[in-house]
């Protein structure tokens, strides 16, 4: 119940900042959505990073097949050689923050960072069960994630890249992705 509220608020806040949010994404839906979107935008490549083994197994073959049918290449990591050539970045988010419509990405993996920074379009999969009301509730988790052994690179992403540096006119897509699409992962019907 509580989580339904977070999900609703998250959606509302994200949509208020030029982000498209859709629900009930199974691996199949994710694959189809990403490929169609890329094709519509005339993109030729998809860079996928950050998914766990299980999701990957369910997602990747399907994604590759759908992509191939539309003449789109699913890039193989590492993405360094493709810096100027990534159209869509497809990644999961670790958490969401409802109050501001913010995605939190565990980004120590360089490929994930490249996929989310250099792409024209970022498609991000978020499990609604991991949405927290505000940074207050998230603080202990974030703290622990940063303090994990080794390097940490945690990214809050809220809407597409933006600037208002010329005459204070809002303009989207200055250095990072111009489009941000969020897919809520299909929720397990256990209640």
């Amino acid at each position: 119940m509580e989580n339904g509220k977070n999900k609703e608020l998250f959606k509302e806040k994200a949509e208020a900042i030029q982000t498209l949010v859709s629900s009930a994404a199974t691996p199949e839906v994710i694959a189809a959505y990403t490929v169609d979107l890329t094709a519509d935008q005339g993109g030729k490549t998809i860079a996928l990073a950050g998914f766990d083994e299980e999701t990957l197994a369910a997602l990747l073959p399907d994604l590759k097949e759908k992509a191939k049918a539309k003449g789109i290449e699913v890039l193989e990591p590492p993405f360094r050689p493709h810096l100027e050539n990534i159209h869509t970045g497809l990644t999961p988010a670790l958490w969401g923050i409802a109050q501001t419509g913010t995605l939190v990405l565990r980004s120590a993996d360089e490929n994930l960072r490249i996929a989310t920074m250099l792409a024209e379009t970022h498609v991000c999969v978020l499990d609604p069960a991991t949405i927290y009301p505000s940074t207050d509730e998230l603080a202990p988790l974030l703290d622990a994630a940063i303090k994990e052994n080794g390097a940490a690179y945690m990214a809050f992403i809220t809407g597409p890249s933006r600037t208002a540096d010329i005459e204070r006119v809002l303009s989207i897509g200055v250095h990072g992705p111009e489009f941000l699409h969020i897919l809520f992962k299909e929720e397990k019907a256990d209640d």
């Binding site: 806040k13 590492p78 360094r80 810096l83 100027e84 923050i97 109050q99 501001t100 419509g101 913010t102 120590a108 993996d109 360089e110 960072r113 490249i114 920074m117 250099l118 940074t135 207050d136 603080a139 974030l142 703290d143 940063i146 303090k147 080794g150 390097a151 940490a152 690179y153 945690m154 990214a155 809050f156 992403i157 809220t158 809407g159 597409p160 890249s161 933006r162 600037t163 208002a164 540096d165 010329i166 005459e167 204070r168 006119v169 303009s171 989207i172 897509g173 200055v174 250095h175 990072g176 992705p177």
Partner: protein, 720 residues
């Protein structure tokens, strides 16, 4: 290269030139209006005051521990392979970064925005070493191409028009650019800067937060350039002031809530990035990024220990103190600061860039309190600006003649009051009825933008014994703090108030030993004398004998309430007598509404259309906002809200003498906004504002009458 005028003559020339830049004024004016609305929206539903308090407390707790936090941070960061450096001075910081570049065989550098790097003039230094440095924040890139400094901490190129940027980008890209298409201009930056990111050997970023308990940094941006800067190059250097050190992520998240909302009216920026240790990096042979963090002192550690000034280190660089400043709104950052601009810039310039650069700009403050109430870290900016002004004078070893005279005269009430009375005789030849329409030419034409009232022939104190109404069985006993303006210029305002109050059974006294509240002294940084007169008034007002101390002058009231405790504190504690005075002092509107609880039955229904000017020291100084509006409605007046009602009218005591052109601009806008309401009367609650605005109305041949709330209320009161 940034050139800031170092004396008043050069500064006045710069101000005159700036006032001719019409685009600048229009754009800053629009910004001021839209900022106000977006900030209010961003904070709606939040307890803003509690948040400000929380941020201020958290920063205050960290400041005395900076060295400790630095040590803790260093321990954690170095355990994760990050090298931490400490730079005593700006030169040292630049040298350290140049050495890191050399050691790592760096040729090209990309930078994301860092005010600290602006402070040290890092780019100049690195370029002199033959390094190629590219700013990647759009605004920073624009000003780098133009060889300018930032004109705003958050929007460095706010002073430029699309046409200027269009021309610049046509040059850079070699293709004709359409200035009307801002989206396309932005894409020019994207296209031009991508290769710079990809080829760069080193990235330099700032940091908004450095968290001691993890050795991680936090960076807050919108464009995404900081993410690229910290990811693509094989070396990443962070330059941050030691004041960015905080204990933990919780403190960072608290400050973040205030920072983004206050800076740009965003709930959060597009990107907030937290980095710890050495992330993987495919461009590096070692497969992890080489990371260095340089903490800059440049006087901060000493500042953190200063009992008065340490507060400035609470600053989280949101830029809001410029956004709301009526002077910034007219002059922009290049004329209102050095590297750091706006209210905080006037202060930091002195500490980070020396007194020569601070000397002229630090005088340019109206004490209007707008910055103080907007600051998310609750820094008392106007007070500290005056303190810096004093430091500059002391270090220069010369207080201007005007200061010395003022201090001498005001320190002695009898002398001061005798001089004021004699002044009435002196001005008689230039007076034209109750106004001085043209000043003698020795004052120069630039002061002639308003008429000035003549001093009253008989000050209030001389009329008092014969005027004072008799109140039998008084409900309340009140002492009037008249202030110089009502005592010597507008005694009628005070008399109207006293007559009105008598009709409510309030007995008013005028304690004769009171003198100037001392605000003009503080404005000229004459703290010692300001303290002396505060002591005199404290004694004269004898709080035990009265239920309230009433003042009709918002400036006196807010000065007594806000600054007396600071001036009169002993061993860091506020004496009981001062606390009592602070509790009992009240402004006229609050007294009428909250104490006497006047009702519509007491007044005639006139339906007179009135506009209202909210004095700085009432709406911000004393935080009285609703009462005057309520009072006008209760009194049967048809109150028509005006644009920028709470923006300073430009009077502010000696300010209008030092900066007549700026004062004139403010007044011109005030008059226009008041006239646009179509009302017949301007009501306000401060004699200083009455003086300034009616002086402006006269010059603009306006038909609007300007009066104090007490005057109009007395007129509206039903006869018994």
């Amino acid at each position: 290269m940034i050139k800031t005028p170092q004396n008043m003559k050069d500064y006045t020339d710069q101000i005159r030139a700036t006032l001719k830049e019409k685009f600048l004024q229009t754009t800053l004016n629009n910004f001021a209006t839209s900022y106000k609305a977006s900030r209010a929206k961003a904070f709606s539903g939040m307890d803003l005051e509690a948040l400000r308090e929380e941020i201020a407390c958290a920063k205050d707790a960290a400041l005395p521990r900076l060295e400790e936090l630095l040590e803790e941070f260093t321990r954690h960061a170095e355990a994760d392979g990050v090298k931490v450096h400490f730079a005593k001075t700006a030169q040292e910081a630049n040298a350290i970064i140049a050495a890191i570049a050399k050691e790592n065989n760096v040729k090209t550098i990309v930078k994301s925005k860092s005010m600290t790097a602006e402070e040290t003039f890092l780019n100049d230094h690195l370029e002199k070493q033959g390094l190629k440095v590219t700013e990647t924040d759009l605004g920073e890139w624009i000003i780098q191409l133009r060889h300018e400094g930032p004109s705003h901490m958050v929007m460095p190129a706010i002073h430029l028009s699309r046409y200027q940027v269009g021309d610049l980008f046509t040059g850079v890209s070699g293709e004709e650019q359409d200035p009307e298409n801002i989206d396309k201009l932005v894409k020019v930056a994207r296209k031009q800067l991508r290769p710079r990111f990809i080829e760069a050997d080193m990235g330099i970023s700032g940091a908004n937060f450095a968290m001691a308990d993890s050795g991680a940094i936090g960076i807050v941006t919108n464009e995404g350039n900081a993410r690229l800067t910290t990811t693509l190059p094989r070396v990443h250097v962070t330059l941050a002031g030691v004041d960015k050190l905080i204990p933990d992520i919780k403190t960072a998240l608290t400050a973040l809530k205030g920072l983004t909302r206050n800076a740009t009216g965003q709930g959060i920026t597009s990107y907030v990035t937290w980095i710890k240790g050495q992330p993987p990096c495919g461009a590096s042979e070692k497969e992890v990024q080489t990371r260095h963090i340089v903490f800059l002192d440049n006087g901060r550690l000493a500042l953190a220990k200063d009992p008065v000034f340490s507060e400035v280190l609470r600053c989280i660089r949101c830029g809001a103190c410029a956004n709301v400043c009526p002077i910034y709104r007219i002059l922009g950052g290049h004329t209102y600061g050095h590297v750091y601009i706006g209210a905080i810039g006037l202060i930091l310039t002195f500490f980070y860039h020396g007194r020569d650069n601070a000397r002229a700009i630090v005088k340019n403050c109206l004490n209007c309190q707008s910055c103080k109430v907007v600051c998310p870290a609750k820094i008392d900016l106007p007070y500290l600006i005056k303190k810096v002004y004093r430091e500059v004078m002391d270090e220069d070893g010369k207080r201007p003649l005007r200061n010395r005279l003022l201090a001498r005269v005001m320190g002695n009430r009898k002398l001061f009051h005798t001089l004021l009375k004699n002044a009435w005789m002196a001005q008689a030849p230039i007076a034209d009825g109750p106004k001085i329409r043209h000043l003698p030419t020795i004052f120069g034409r630039k002061h002639d933008f308003r008429t000035i009232p003549v001093l009253a022939k008989h000050p209030l104190r001389d009329q008092w014994s014969s005027f004072k109404p008799v109140v039998r069985n008084p409900k309340l006993k009140v002492a009037l703090f008249a202030g110089c303006a009502q005592d010597f210029i507008y005694p009628q305002q005070a008399k109207d108030a006293v007559t009105l109050l008598a009709s409510y059974g309030v007995d008013v006294d005028l304690p004769m030993d009171q003198t100037c509240c001392g605000l003009p002294l503080l404005m000229m940084a004459e703290n010692e004398t300001a303290k002396e007169v505060a002591e005199q008034n404290l004694k004269a007002l004898d709080t035990d004998r009265y239920d309230y101390i009433l003042t009709l002058c918002a400036s006196c009231g807010s000065h007594i309430k806000e600054n007396y405790p600071k001036l009169l504190q002993k061993e860091n504690a506020v004496p009981e007598g001062v606390k009592k005075l602070e509790e009992k002092i009240i402004d006229f509107s609050s007294f009428m509404v909250n104490v006497l609880k006047v009702t519509a039955d007491d007044f005639r229904v006139s339906g007179k259309k009135v506009a209202y000017h909210a004095p700085c020291h009432l709406c911000r100084g004393l935080d009285v906002v609703e009462e005057p509006r309520e009072l006008m409605r209760v009194a049967g007046l048809d109150y028509v809200p005006a644009a920028d009602e709470d923006v300073c009218c430009g009077f502010s005591g000696s300010y209008s003498v030092d900066f007549p052109e700026v004062s004139e601009q403010l007044l011109r806008r005030k008059v226009a906004n008041m006239e646009a309401t179509g009302a017949d009367i301007v009501v306000t609650d401060c004699p200083g504002c009455v003086m300034q605005i009616s002086g402006g109305m006269d010059k603009h041949a306006s038909r609007m009458r300007v009066c104090h709330m007490a005057e109009i209320l007395r007129e509206m009161r039903k006869k018994e």
